[in-house]
């Protein structure tokens, strides 16, 4: 609308105010109400954190596009029990670079004839590790997968993608950035277990292999045949080749040991949503928000502090309380709620 749209002979309500009238109007109106400093600071902090992350994300996206390294996520736990694999001819290690990095150890662990590596140190192809009755280990394969080794396990790192499981239990989670096409193969006495974008567990018992899938699909291959286990299913492969299936929950005692050797999560500077995603992934629980505003907060609230050394499930109370949130578990869901109900308008 322009001045020409306003008839010049109209009264003030149709004529744009002149300079004096503007002055009168503005004096009469008074200054606009400001926003309380506390609210301004809160919003500024949250929005700034979001903006910084968005800026980092754009830089990271450019880096990934340049290197052609797409993000991928999967996790698998393979339980393998069977005959002694020492008579097998493992794949000759051909890597000079470390095939994995040690992330965490607990209890007694032996490393064959090699010096025990330090946390953060590299593990070369050919590394053998054996865990005692109280020993557990977490390693990160070069391709990105997280591998956790249960007590009483004998395992050989064949390459950055292949493990040889003699006895005991191994959990594999191929979450996070990984090289294109990378997958993890677990060699067992009874056959191969491959991940197809999953969280799964493989355990070797006497004369049987149990493959329990928490998320995605794991494939068991033997003598030219393959058996796929989708999420929520455990397949049991017997010595005679017979295969049975049964449901397995995604959380609970079956997976509890995995939490005790979970690599630490870098809480400082992470988003609430990232932290909850990590807890959900580690515990197998589906994160649900008690209110949409909590979901919004999860994308913008930045956390501070450390949860080093704590199991993922042990961190919930402490972390959520700092955000005036609480949690409860119902079936396979982790429900996040506000401690104080939102004020009614």
């Amino acid at each position: 609308m322009t001045d020409r749209d306003i008839p010049q002979n109209d009264t003030m309500n149709r004529r744009a105010p002149n300079g004096d009238e503007i002055a009168r109007l503005l004096r009469a109106a008074g200054p606009r109400p400001g926003v309380p400093a506390e609210r301004t600071d809160r919003v500024r902090h949250a929005v700034h954190a979001h903006w910084r992350r968005a800026a980092r994300g754009r830089k990271l996206a450019r880096w990934f596009a340049w290197t052609a390294a797409p993000l991928a996520a999967a996790a698998a736990w393979v339980l393998l029990v069977g005959p002694d694999l020492s008579r097998w001819n493992p794949v000759a290690p051909s890597l000079t670079a470390p095939g994995a990095t040690l992330e965490r150890t607990e209890g007694s662990v032996s490393w064959g004839d090699r010096e025990p590596p330090v946390i953060g140190g590299g593990l070369r192809a050919g590394t053998i590790l054996e865990t005692g009755t109280d020993g557990r280990v977490a390693v990160r394969l070069r391709a990105g997968a997280s591998v956790r080794v249960d007590i009483g396990t004998s395992l050989r790192l064949v390459s950055a993608e292949t493990l040889l499981l003699n006895r005991g239990g191994v959990y594999v989670d191929t979450e996070g950035p990984s090289e294109a096409g990378a997958s993890v193969t677990i060699r067992t006495p009874l056959g191969l277990v491959r991940d197809v974008g999953t969280q799964f567990q493989v355990r070797a018992t006497a004369g049987a292999v149990l493959v329990s899938v928490r998320e995605g699909i794991a494939r068991f291959e033997r003598n030219g045949s393959a058996h796929e286990a989708p999420s929520g299913i455990q397949i049991s492969v017997q010595q005679d080749g017979s295969v049975t299936r049964q449901p397995v929950p995604s959380s609970g005692p079956e997976w509890d040991w995995v939490l005790s050797v979970a690599p630490d999560f870098e809480l400082e500077g992470s988003l609430l949503g990232e932290y909850l995603d990590w807890v959900g992934r580690e515990t197998g629980l589906r994160v649900e928000y008690g209110a949409p505003s909590i979901s919004s907060d999860a994308m913008i609230v930045v956390l501070h502090g450390s949860i080093e050394g704590l199991r993922p499930d042990e961190t919930l109370g402490a972390v959520l309380s700092t955000c005036s949130l609480s949690h409860r578990i119902r079936d396979d869901s982790l429900i996040v709620e506000r401690v104080v109900p939102e004020a009614a308008p």
């Binding site: 609308m1 322009t2 001045d3 749209d5 306003i6 009264t11 003030m12 309500n13 149709r14 004529r15 744009a16 105010p17 002149n18 300079g19 503007i22 002055a23 009168r24 109007l25 503005l26 004096r27 009469a28 109106a29 008074g30 200054p31 606009r32 109400p33 400001g34 926003v35 309380p36 609210r39 301004t40 809160r42 919003v43 500024r44 949250a46 929005v47 700034h48 979001h50 903006w51 910084r52 968005a54 800026a55 754009r58 830089k59 949409p292 505003s293 919004s296 994308m299 913008i300 939102e342 004020a343 308008p345």
Partner: protein, 205 residues
């Protein structure tokens, strides 16, 4: 041929580049105005306005690349804010009718007649005066960044031009020039407000 880049688009580019100063300018220039915009439409629920504006600004940052400058940045933010408000009200299933500011009402003409009359007579219709004051303040918020502040400092707070210039980090002469442009912008914008066309004008650059 030179391309004249609008100030809003310059600010957006700087934000996308990650310039810290750009964020300061963005937040200082838009947060208070957006807050008042939301507050009015949420029946002056301050908690709700804070939540909505925070979500709006974060959403804006997420989709900042889509800002093309066809509308002003503030208009664009208000559009996002309206969606957040709408979603918020649906989620909380409020029984109360969401407040409809006068400038959004199609029946503004009758009210404007009363406003004009009360202005001519002086301060007797208190409610109408308050609404007029609010319309003035809404108009200030919809002016380009800096204009509303300059006019407010000059006329509502009666600050000298020298101090206004210092606040705007301008020379006194540049501040006078800005005040002149701000008055002109206010004049046109307020005319639109009282004619009930604020929504249509928000599409202009």
């Amino acid at each position: 041929m030179l391309e004249v880049v609008q100030p809003d688009r310059v600010l957006v580019k700087r934000l996308l580049r990650g310039e810290e100063r750009a964020f300061d300018d963005f937040f200082a220039g838009y947060f208070p105005r957006l807050y008042r915009f939301a507050l009015t439409r949420l029946s002056y629920d301050h908690d709700g306005a804070e939540e909505i504006v925070q979500a709006t600004l974060c959403k804006a940052i997420t989709v900042l690349k889509t800002f093309r400058g066809e509308a002003s940045l503030f208009t664009w933010l208000c559009t996002l804010c309206r969606r957040e408000i709408s979603g918020h009200l649906k989620r909380v299933s409020r029984e109360q009718v969401p407040s409809e500011p006068m400038e959004d009402s199609p029946d503004i003409q009758a009210a404007l007649e009363s406003l004009a009359t009360s202005l001519e007579r002086g301060p007797e219709a208190d409610l109408l005066r308050k609404e007029l004051a609010r319309l003035v303040q809404v108009t200030l918020d919809f002016l380009p960044v800096g204009y509303g502040d300059a006019l407010e400092w000059k006329y509502a707070l009666e600050l000298p031009v020298k101090e206004i210039a210092e606040r705007l980090k301008l020379s006194p002469k540049a501040a006078e020039s800005l005040l002149m442009r701000a008055r002109e912008a206010f004049r046109k914008e307020f005319a639109s407000v009282i004619e009930g066309r604020l929504q249509l004008r928000t599409l202009k650059t």
